[in-house]
Structure formats: C-alpha cells, structure tokens
Symmetry: C2
Subunit: 319 residues, 2 copies
Amino acid sequence: MSFVNAGVDAMASSLSEEFAVPAHVEEVRRVMAAFAEQHGAAGRMVVLITSGGTKVPLESRTVRFLDNFSSGRRGASSAEYFLAQGYAVIFLHRQRSLYPYTRLYTGANLLDCLTLHPAHEGSGLVTVDQTKLPNITDVLKRYQAVKSAGLLLPVEFSTLSEYLHLLKAAAQALSSLGSKAMFYLAAAVSDFYIPPSEMPEHKIQSSNGPLQISMKMVPKILKPLVKDWAPKAFVISFKLETDPSILLERARCALDIYKHQVVVANVLDTRHGYVVIVTKDSQKELVLTEEEVQREVEIEEKIVKNLSHAHTQFINQKG
Amino acid sequence: MSFVNAGVDAMASSLSEEFAVPAHVEEVRRVMAAFAEQHGAAGRMVVLITSGGTKVPLESRTVRFLDNFSSGRRGASSAEYFLAQGYAVIFLHRQRSLYPYTRLYTGANLLDCLTLHPAHEGSGLVTVDQTKLPNITDVLKRYQAVKSAGLLLPVEFSTLSEYLHLLKAAAQALSSLGSKAMFYLAAAVSDFYIPPSEMPEHKIQSSNGPLQISMKMVPKILKPLVKDWAPKAFVISFKLETDPSILLERARCALDIYKHQVVVANVLDTRHGYVVIVTKDSQKELVLTEEEVQREVEIEEKIVKNLSHAHTQFINQKG
C-alpha cells in the first residue's frame, strides 16, 4: 500500500519535471470541463476515448522519434458506437490518426473523389463522385448531426508528454461527473522514453557509429488516474500482446495493480475479430462470426455495447 | 578505391539478407521501367523523387518502430514544380505522407468540407464547400491534367527495407534514360536499423525494466546508386542538420564520398525559407524574401528551377 502511494506521489511530482507541459493544457482543461458540465447537466454519460500512438523524441530538436504502431482505428470506430449509444465523447487522439466517420474514407485521395460538375462548370461547382466515397450522404448526415449537437469534442496530442498531461487534465475535468464518466484508454502509449536530461540537443550523427539508446520506463499514469484524479469513474484499459499465451495473465495482472474496472485484452493478429472483456470476477469473449465479417460488422460495436451496459450497471450500483 | 568497392559489394550482397525484399518489387520495377521508356521516347526528362520518413521496426511482429520526422512536404511540393517544368515524376513516398496537390488540403477534415446540396437534397448531390478548400477548382484542374496525361507515377513505401529495395529497383528502371534521369532524394531515411537476427519476435515487455536498443548503421545506398545502378544520372541528395555550424562541411563531405552532382543543404528550423545548393565547385544560397513569404511562394519552386536548369546543362555536357 505504501508502495502504491509512493508510486502515485512520484508520478504526480515527476510528470511536469520529466515531461514538458504543453502550453495549451489549461485552456483544453477548461473546454473539457465545460463540455462535461453541459452534457452532465443534460443527463448524458460522457466517455473520454484515447486513440492512436504516442511519439517519443530521441533528440530535443527532434529529427528522430520512437512510435507505436496504431492507426487509431479502434478508438475512432468506438467513438461512433458510443455516440450511437447516447454518450457525449471527448476524443483525445494522435494528430492525423483516424477520426470518427472520416476514417471510412481514409484510403481515398481527396482529389480523386471530386469532379467539376458539368452543368455548372462555368461557376466552378465541385461535386463528390459517390462511387469513390460509398455511403457518403448517410455518413455525412450522421457526422453533421453529431457536430451540430456538439456531442464530439476532439483534442489532439502528438508526443507522449502531450498525451500524459492532456489525459491528466481530462481526468480532472471529468471528475465532477463521478460514475457517469467513462475512460476508454485505447491509445497505444509508449512504455519507454528518454528523459530531457539524457537527450542530445542535436541530430544524432551517423558518423559516430552504431547507435545505443537507453530508455527509461514511463510511469504508469493509470495508477494516479484511478486513485486520485477520477476515483469514481468507470475505467477501461486495453492490453495488446503479440503472444496469445501471456495475454490473460497480463490483463488480470493489470486489474490487480490498478484496481480499475475492465481490461479489453487483444492479440495483434486477431484484434479486429476477437477480444476478451476481463473484469475482476468475469471474462467474456467477443467474436465476430463469418457472417458478421461478411456484413462488415465491426468488433467495436460489440465492445461498446458490452461496456455501455456494464457502465449503466456500475452507475446504478454506485449511485 | 578498394574501400569504396568493398562498400559497394557489401551493400549489393547484404541488401537482401539484412532487409526483407517486398513481395511486389519486381512488378513495381516493370511499371517504373515502362513509365521511363514511354516518357523517354516522348523526349521528356524523368525525375525520381523520394519523400517522407522511413519506419524501422524494433520487433518482427511490429508494435514499436523508430521513425524520422518528415511530413513529406518538400517532396510533394517539389513534385508539382517538376511537373510544371515538364518532367515526368515517379513519386516514391512514405505511405500517408503528403501527396502532390492533395497536400494543400491536408489539414482539412473531409466531412467538414462537404455539404448536401440544397437544390438536390432528394437526389443526394454532395458538393464541396469552397470556402473550406481554397482554390479547389484550379488545383483540381491541374491535378486532373497531370493524371490524365499519365505524368505522375506514385509508389509507396513504409519501412526502411521497402524504401531501399524500391529505390534500387527505380534506379535500375531509369538507367535506360542515362543523363535524362534525375534522382531527387528528399526522403528522410533512417541511418540506423536492427538486423532481423537481433530483433525480438514479440512485443518488448515493459515489465523487463528499462530498454536498451542497439542499432546498426544502415549501408549508404547512395554509393551503389551513383556507382553501379544509375551511373549516368543527375543525382541530388539532401542534408538536413539541426546545427548550422556543421552543415556545409557535411554537405561537401557527402559530395566527396559519393561523387554525385548536388547536395541540397538545409537546417531544420529554417528549411522552409533557406537552403544552399552545393556542388563540387559551387555553392548557391536560395532564400525566400519577406515579400515572397507574403505571396506564399515556396522555396521548392526556387530549388526545382535551379536544379532543372543545372540538369539541362548536365545533359548538354554529357550528351
């Protein structure tokens, strides 16, 4: 217990020392708090989704960085399903990672999808070639409805430092909602970083020969988040492994250490069709059937239904 | 001299051993060779532009990777100016990095730029809101003209291995053009990598403690490119530094070692407004004036004019 406290205290004090504070963090905190207050007052549940990978600089004037493989697909599609369930969504995502709704057209080159409309060429009317952007009218209607209702608040990060500080700010901004706040931590966050004091200022020269990089472990932000910043919230973390044999053990281990509500466990190769929802006293496999894959059902629809149901039960228990 | 030969031989034999060959490399080589032949026959010069950063995996089932800071802006804008100068362009670029013409709208969310056209809502006509995509009719016309004339051949890479093999294939595909081929190597290529034999299969576990990464130096592909693969071509490399005091010395050093024609030297902080064109016996500064910055002139326009002029002189000398 004293070890846990020591960890939390170290985290709280070291966050600003080891990870540069983004200039706009106070402004973002105010915007998130106002968003939470408004939707809380309207009786809505609010989910904070984190999505995409974090960038870890190797030099202070950064030319090189370490990154995590993550398109942001899981976070972006989950946002859509949470919105469909009536949640208001704060979408804390890596800059230029996949974005709700827009993600459906991410493979397309914008200019390949546009035509100068023949009937209006003089006036320069540009229209969408709907064979290139399937279902665009439906998707656009859904996107515009969410936007005009103010249900989706996007916040961007790029580096690990930005992610850590913005997540802390979000947790504090949502604390007024108590159990009605959900944290859905789907971002692929680096486990390692180089402290500013050990970072070279300039670009590492290849003429100096082979490169040795020593990286410290990133403090586990889940610990103070659950314990101090949002102790009443419903918190979900993700565990991605490449080795299936250690997956569930690692998921249970995370629940033991951090005392949060759910780990969504998944394996790199099968993550789009299979996950396990792990709680302290249950585990449930969610699988896409062949027929569902054919119909292009997404596993995130099942994850979000399962978790929003569990969240409602959690709220009813906690009051 | 024997050292140079040893380097080239080692490179040629080690490329396939140390860097996995992409499955589609032969097909891409054929497409590039046909492109070169067609435009060569039409009397056009052909430039191969490399653009964007390379991904260097840290695990064979990759969760983490090392990357280089590069949006691909310089390569993408240069492609437009080479097309304006009458070149045919092979655009060898990092997947999802900036793309010619489309780059001008990269900050925009597609769905924010579209409207269901009021007069056609029943039929679902979707139009572009041209206040959100400035100059879209002009840009679209230019893009469509280039596309329908078949002047731009896009080829994508993502990892360092893909980059190295595709660049070699491109050099071989363009060798028939002799001095009429230009290589404009603007990609930000990693200097370091982890050989397959030293790479862990599975995701590195953070529970194992701090991370030590040992990386080998990437063989300099410029050496065999200039010496063996495209010995008659006009070759331009880029040198990006964060420390201005070592820039020109490093540029001259590269020309001495690789014996190619031009180094475009630039410093990270000022790269959008200042470069030095360095050749064996000249160096010329290109600078954007305040007035040009106001008019949104791009430094790449000046770089490309300078280099296409130098390329024409080079062709006239070599015949």
